[in-house]
Amino acid sequence: MNNETIEIQIYRKVLKQQLLKISPTTVSEELDILVEKFSLKKFKKKDLLIEADTFSDKLYFIISGLVRIFYNKENKEITNVFVCENEIAAGAYSIFTGEKNFNNYEALENTITLCIEYNELEELYDKYHSLEHLGRLLVEKYYSNFMKKTHDVIFLSAEERYANFVREQAKLLNRVPLRFIASYLGIAQETLSRLRAK
């Protein structure tokens, strides 16, 4: 076995563990078949995993590194979400509708991922009920995250959202440039500095 084969086997184990956290009842042999379908894909800092206004049917599981999801509006970049280790980045809108994505997905650090096409996943969902179950829980999880995020933008103040960010994603604080955190919170960088000093 060469180094890359060994490397990918280690990553597939990590993926398997994470998927078992989402659906503990998944049949182990079926899950093995699923993780075997993932291939290794590496991105350099500033590479785009997915570009806005393009089609994408890929799903990326982040092994290491960090991805920022953002859109452009009136020449300004607005950051929506940060995706880090053990999480999934996918152009869900394009996958579910066959239309183009709204967002860009940019590596903020050198990023290692395991990658699969959604239709390959669906083939396995069709074949194995326990994987179908996992697939439903996955999409429910990301749907509810999106609802929560939208809700927070509408109902919470910048200060409350900053407090949540510090609580839930503390490890990102020193990894993400402040301008992206400010954009994520929908506030000016000066306001962010004030909140941080507090």
């Binding site: 969902y125 009920h129 439903r136 429910e140 749907y143 509810s144 809700h151 509408i154």
Partner: protein, 199 residues
């Protein structure tokens, strides 16, 4: 209010057709069992049948009528989503996370829905592969439409949003009061009247 009328079977058949559109390879015996487990619920006009800040324990398949989903912010009601025949209502956030819902669900017309408890649906998911697939397809569909709505508000002008709405919801237009359409489009009623007279 829940009851079974001779019409219940008619609505169950209608529901089967709707669900087959979402997931064409559904197993028909499994689908039959799902629809037999639903009961008909009558929702009066203006009734709020799922409240914000509460938990929801049932899924509703609308077979007749219309429902608006809205939240309140600073004393104002903002209409998010309009649902009608063929749509599925879950109070999804509560259903998925076990937390409380963010939105209110109010019938805008006399509305009939076939209803099943979350727990019964989960049991069917466990029992039948094709029903679980249906569940995933429904979530994917509403996830995508929620994303679309969110991004339309960000990227499209009021006029573009109005045109899209008219194109996609022609049949609804005369059924919904203008104040809800304006709220849904994120514009004032005056702007809506101006756009209507233009087109």
């Amino acid at each position: 209010m829940t009851n079974t009328t001779p019409d219940t079977q008619k609505y169950r058949n209608q529901l089967k057709l709707n669900l087959l559109k979402i997931c064409p390879d559904l197993n028909l015996f499994e689908l039959e069992e799902l629809t037999q487990k639903t009961s008909l619920k009558i929702i009066d006009k203006n009734e709020i049948f799922i409240k914000a800040d509460s938990y929801s324990d049932s899924i509703y398949f609308i077979v007749q009528g219309m429902v608006r989903v809205y939240y309140e912010k600073e004393g104002k009601e903002i209409t998010n989503v309009l649902l009608t025949e063929g749509d599925v209502i879950a109070g999804s956030y509560s259903y998925i996370t076990g937390g409380k819902n963010f939105s209110n669900y109010q019938a805008l017309e006399y509305t009939l829905a076939l209803c099943i408890s979350n727990q019964e649906l989960e049991e069917l998911y466990q029992k039948y592969h094709s029903i679980e697939r249906l569940g995933r397809k429904i979530v994917e569909r509403y996830y995508a439409s929620f994303m679309k709505k969110t991004y339309d508000v960000l990227f499209l002008s009021a006029e573009e949003r109005y045109n899209t709405f008219v194109q996609n919801n022609r049949a609804l237009f005369n059924r919904i009061s203008l104040k809800y359409i304006a709220s849904y489009l994120g514009i004032t009623q005056e702007t809506l009247s101006r756009l209507r007279s233009k087109h």
